[in-house]
Symmetry: C2
Subunit: 184 residues, 2 copies
DNA sequence: TCTAAATGTCTCATTTTTGAGAAAAAAGTC
DNA sequence: GACTTTTTTCTCAAAAATGAGACATTTAGA
């Protein structure tokens, strides 16, 4: 059961992901509520946007965090982190984009940035571990691998949306491309 | 020497890529002209957006087309198409996104869609050729490979923007990941 | 240097978006 | 069924964005 507040933030994430300055009317429409209702939950655009950030953080933190603690084998862990990220869908890719675009200045002083770092450092440390154990190539920098992961997750999400790739294959393909693309 | 019209479309592509409904003031500012000047070249947002599409089409068509005719070896061609796409930068990724999002219904009846198809079919036919010759795996569908290419190009562009990956390495990394990720 | 074209400044009227009050309608709860 | 909570409808005023006219200023080229 999704409450109204969640319905609105979910809709907002979808809409803002495609068009950051879309009128709030569009968000309300997608959430199937009136603009008036939306404004009862969120005073303004900024407020809503912050709630979206929180929702995305929360989702990703939980999904990635669960996997992180469930697998001790780093390769298995890495694979399942990819799947978790794909399951987070737009929440993952939008969040990544928000913290890696021009205007955003990433700083440890910002609560949101810290939250982001907590989640994404789990990715990074796993990559680092794999590189240390020489399970993935050292020819690629860790930063590139991070970007690559985000790019592949985006590809997976777009594939699902477009409907041109069978849903059951998406994760398989994504892992195939990612693993071969970085393993030694 | 870039003329004003180009300066504005270039700025618009950058801005709209990040925020489709950004105020035209933001575009003017990026282009270092007044909003008044912008409006002398483009009657309204729609008009500007169409000009952006054309500019993106043109750029990609030329870049990809040149490579397509220059290399007879499909693998070499494919590699250089990737580099060309990366050089197109946002023009490539934004264009791809425009033709693969929810609202857009891709149809051969639309001039723009046709233009897009002309360019992207060169990608697709090369992939098909590589698969026929068993140079790339048949485990992955052509549609996935297309999405993957776009994802990797996006990763390359983001890497360049972030400055976290040395510029000289970006193309090397991208090709490393793409080739290993799909070759047999 | 003179002139035509391009751009900027200032201004204005419209339209769109935004945020919220008040009361009716609908949905839950006991 | 009576009561509470939530949502909608209708409304409005303020703010922001849009598109363009009139004229000053700058720029580029003969």
């Amino acid at each position: 059961m999704k409450n109204t507040r969640q319905k609105i933030t979910d809709a907002a994430i979808e809409i803002f992901n495609e068009d950051l300055s879309a009128p709030l009317e569009a968000v309300a429409e997608k959430a199937e509520v009136t603009r008036r209702t939306l404004h009862r939950y969120f005073t303004d655009r900024q407020d809503l946007l912050l709630a979206c950030q929180e929702a995305m953080q929360e989702s990703c933190k939980k999904a990635i965090g669960d996997v992180y603690t469930s697998y001790s084998d780093p390769l298995e862990r890495f694979e399942n982190m990819l799947y978790a990220a794909i399951d987070c869908g737009v929440k993952f890719s939008f969040l990544h984009r928000m913290h890696n675009n021009d205007h955003h200045q990433h700083t440890t002083k910002n609560e949101n940035c810290n939250n982001y770092d907590v989640t994404f450092n789990k990715f990074k440390s796993t990559v680092a571990e794999l590189q240390r154990k020489e399970l993935i190539t050292k020819e690629l920098s860790a930063e590139w691998i991070e970007m690559l992961c985000a790019g592949i997750v985006t590809a997976a999400i777009n594939s699902e949306k477009s409907g041109n790739v069978a849903k059951i294959n998406i994760k398989k393909f994504a892992w195939y491309s990612l693993s071969k693309g970085i393993l030694v």
